[in-house]
Amino acid sequence: MTTPPSSIVLVLVGAVIGSFGAIFLKWGAHALSRSWTSIVYNWKLAVGVVTYLLSSVLFVKGMSNGELSVLFPMVSVGYICTLLWSHLFFHERVTKAKLAGVGLILVGIVFLGLGNATH
């Protein structure tokens, strides 16, 4: 069984959505204190959790019709998005090493996709 493109798209979209989860968690963590109410009434943390949940739903949907060894590595696009968002929202530096990593991940995903198509 090969992995249909629709499942690959589901997992890629899930990974992009999941990368927003990390951003919201970080935002939420900034407003955190030692009291429980600061966790419960923290809408950013809540959005972060819901975002991860949504991303997991898309991942499970994709996994119900595709290969683990193709779909799981595809989640690595999430790292690229996280890098982009942390630069845009938290002004973290984008170094040459980070760009090299992004390039390698993209090339790897293309190879993986080609390998999946040439069964």
Partner: protein
Amino acid sequence: MSSVTTLPEVHVVDADKRRRAVLIVIGCTLIIGAAQYLIKLGANQLAAQQHSVHGGSVSLEAAVMGIFTNPAIFSGYCLYAVFTVLFVFALRHGELSILYPLISLGYVWVVIIGAVAFHEAMNPLKLAGIAIIMAGVTVLGRGSAK
């Protein structure tokens, strides 16, 4: 926030603690492998339940319900919670530049699990792709740890 002279104190981390952190992170990658095995197993069960009606992937509702009611998928995500706690714990004692790249070991386990447990076919392009992604995650991790 004092002068540079305090730097050595910060950098001399107990070698034992550091070794333990590396072992914990390697354990973390095994947990990821186990979690992915369980999630895939559960997703296959959801598909088997629905494929009597129609083919393709399961519906969104089935996927949402599956995360909470399918024991395999639910346990898989519980393992992710365990992974997160352990990884954060390990990060306190080890060097990020070594620990982050180690996480890419998870891909090795997932490929082995895919081939052995789910009989997924491997070919050179696919394996090269996964190896390149591992290299990318390693480079990105090292770059982010500075």
